[in-house]
Symmetry: C2
Subunit: 360 residues, 2 copies
C-alpha cells in the first residue's frame, strides 16, 4: 500500500448531510479526521467533527484553503459542480474522480456510458424540443417517462406520459432542459447493489437489497432481496463492470429494475454511499461508510460479509419520534441529528435485525 | 419514558480518552451531541465533536459552565474526584451516580460492598501499617497480593508477597496508603461481563468474554469464553445483582477469576464502558457504547444479541501500524486517533469476526 494515508490523516468531505456525517463517523473509527465543507452552517455533519468550512461550492478561495488543509477529498452528493471538482482535483486527490461525477450527473451521459460497456438500461432518447419528443415517443411508445437529465432526486424532475395530451405540459414543466425520454418499465421490484473499488483495483460488493419507495422516497431496504441466486450474481457482476470501467475509487450505488422474467435493467448509479446501503452498518463486518473511507484513503477494502438478515426502515419527517419511542428488540437506531423534522426530510433510520435461522 | 432525553440533547462526558471518544461516536448515531470535558487539549475525544471544555477536574467555575451547557453528565473513568462528582450532581443528573463511583474508587469499599450483597471475592484485609500487614498475612497466608486501595490500573499499584522478606519493601513502595491485602487466587482464566441497567430498572448483559493480559495490559477478549453454560449464567447473575444493588444507571464491567472447579470470584468492577467490551461494537445489535448512552439518556436499553464469534485484539504502542498494514478478511479495525504511539499505550484494536458455523 505505497499510497495509503495513515491514521491521523484528514479527509475532506464535500457536503454536510447525513451521508457526510456517517462518512466522518466511520473515519473516526479508522483514526482519521474529517473536514466537512458545506454552505449550510446548520448541517448535521458539523456536529461530529471540529474541522469545518462554511462556504459556497463555487467559492474558489475557500475551496483552495480547504484543499490545503486535507490529504484527500471525497463527497456525499453527485451534484458537485464540474468546475469545483476540477479545481479541487488539481490540488489534492479527488476520489471518486471527475469522470464518475460527469457520468452520474447527466442521465444521457450515464445511459450512454452504461450501454457502451454492455450494461442493460431502459430504451431512451434525448429530447430537446417538442419535435424531438414526438419522434422519441414514436419509437419508445406509451407509457414513457420524461425526465430532466440533471439534478433529479427522490422522484423530482420527472413526468409519466400516458397519451399525446400529456406532452406539451410535461415538456414545458420540466427544467432544466435538455430532457431524456425513457420507456416506462413495468418492473416487478427494485433492487440495489452497493459496490466498492480500491485504488489498487480490487472490488467488493454487498448482497443486493430490495427497495420499497413511498411518495418517491426510499422507505425500506430488505436483505436478502427476493431474487434468484443467478440474478443476484448478475447484479453484482454488472456493478463490478461499472466500477471497473470507470476505474472508480470508493463506494458506488447501482439501482436496478427487476422484470417479470428476472431480467435486470440499471435504473441509475450514484457515485457515493447510498441510502439503500445503510443496513450494512448494522450487520456487516465492514459497512459502506468505512468501505468508502478505506478506498478513499488508499487502504485495502474491508470484508462486506453480512452477519444477519435485515430490514432498514427510513424515518421521514416526524417519524423520527420512533427514536427512542418505538425501539424494541432487534432494532438498531440511527438519528441524523437534524433539528427540524420537515415533511419528506430523511431524519434517521432503524435497522431491524434478524439472526440467521430465527423466525420472521 | 417520561424522563427520556430527546435526540438533539447534549451529553456531558468527563474524560477525553478512547472510551469518551467511543461514547461520543455512539451518541452521534443516536442523534445526541457530546460535550467532552478533559484537561489535556490533545485528548482523542476532542476530534469527534466540536463541543469541548479544556480544564482541570477541580476547576469549579469550568465545571459549573460545563454543567450549564449539557443535559446529563457521565464519565469514562472511575477516578472522578468525589468533590467534582458532588458538584456536578447538584447541577445535572450524573449517571452512573455518586455511590457507584465511591464503591469503585476504593478497593476496600468495593470488596465490602460486594461481600455485603453476597458476591464472592478473594479473601482480603485492610492494611495501614506493617503491623496490620503481618496480622493480615497470618490469616491470608502466602502468596498474597498487596494493593493500593485507590488509583490502580493496568497492574500498577500492586505487589505479590511470596515470603516475609517481601513485606517491608512492598509496604514502603506502594502509595497512597492505606493498602489492602488479598489472597493470591490461582485462577484458571479471567472473564468479564459487561452489564447495563436503565433508569427504569431493566438490566441487559452481554455474553461473557475471556480475557488474556500481557504485561498487565488486556491483550485479547474472546467470545464465547471457555466456560460452562452454568458458569456463564452465574456470572451474568452476579453482574445483575451488582447493578441492581447499586441502583446503577449505565454500563458496568465486572471482572471475574474462574477457578479450577468452575467457581467464580469477582476481581473488580468498573463503573463505565470497558475495554473487554469493545468487541460488542463489531457484532452486537446494540454495542456497549450505545447501551451506556441509552441508559444515560433515560432510554430503553438496546438488544445485546451477538451475531458472530469474536476475538478482540488490543493494539498497544506501535502495534497500531496493523491499521491499515495488517488488515484482512473478517477484521474490523478501530484506531483511537492518538498521535503518539508510546509503549504500553492503548492505540486501537482489531476485532476478528467469525460467522457462526464457520471453521476456526
Amino acid at each position: 500500500m505505497p499510497d495509503a494515508l495513515k491514521p491521523g490523516s484528514v479527509v475532506g468531505i464535500l457536503g454536510g448531510g447525513q451521508l457526510g456525517r456517517m462518512l466522518a463517523l466511520a473515519g473516526h473509527r479508522l483514526g482519521v479526521r474529517s473536514h466537512i465543507y458545506c454552505p449550510d452552517p446548520h448541517s448535521p455533519a458539523f456536529d461530529v467533527t471540529p474541522l469545518r468550512t462554511v462556504a459556497a461550492y463555487d467559492d474558489e478561495a475557500a475551496l483552495a484553503r480547504f484543499a490545503a488543509e486535507v490529504d484527500v477529498i471525497t463527497y456525499e452528493f453527485e451534484n458537485v459542480p464540474a468546475r469545483t471538482a476540477e479545481l479541487l482535483a488539481r490540488l489534492k486527490p479527488l476520489r471518486p474522480g471527475a469522470r464518475a461525477l460527469a457520468v452520474a450527473q447527466d442521465r444521457i451521459a450515464e445511459k450512454t456510458f452504461l450501454t457502451g460497456v454492455g450494461v442493460p438500461v431502459a430504451p431512451f432518447a434525448p429530447v430537446d424540443s417538442p419535435a424531438t419528443l414526438a419522434v422519441a415517443l414514436s419509437s419508445l411508445g406509451y407509457p414513457s417517462v420524461l425526465k430532466t437529465t440533471r439534478l433529479g432526486y427522490d422522484g423530482k424532475g420527472q413526468r409519466i406520459l400516458r397519451s399525446a395530451e400529456d406532452l406539451d405540459t410535461a415538456f414545458a414543466a420540466l427544467e432544466p432542459k435538455p430532457l431524456v425520454l425513457e420507456r416506462f418499465i413495468p418492473f416487478e421490484r427494485e433492487i440495489s447493489v452497493i459496490v466498492a473499488r480500491a485504488v489498487s483495483g480490487p472490488v467488493a460488493a454487498y448482497d443486493p437489497a430490495e427497495n420499497l419507495h413511498q411518495h418517491h422516497i426510499l422507505k425500506t431496504s430488505t436483505v436478502p432481496a427476493t431474487l434468484s441466486a443467478a440474478s443476484a450474481a448478475e447484479a453484482i457482476g454488472i456493478a463490478t463492470t461499472i466500477v471497473n470501467a470507470l476505474e472508480y475509487v470508493g463506494v458506488l450505488g447501482v439501482e436496478f429494475f427487476v422484470l417479470a422474467d428476472g431480467a435486470l435493467l440499471v435504473n441509475e448509479i450514484a457515485p457515493r454511499v447510498h441510502n439503500s446501503g445503510h443496513w450494512t452498518e448494522a450487520v456487516c463486518i465492514t459497512d459502506q461508510f468505512e468501505q468508502h473511507m478505506r478506498a478513499v484513503l488508499g487502504w485495502p477494502l474491508g470484508d462486506p460479509t453480512r452477519l444477519a438478515d435485515v430490514v432498514m426502515e427510513n424515518l421521514v419527517g416526524d417519524e423520527i419520534a420512533a427514536i427512542p419511542a418505538r425501539l424494541g428488540a432487534g432494532q438498531r437506531p440511527h438519528a441524523y441529528g437534524k433539528t427540524e423534522a420537515r415533511p419528506g426530510r430523511k431524519m434517521g433510520h432503524i435497522t431491524h435485525v434478524r439472526r440467521f435461522g430465527d423466525e420472521k
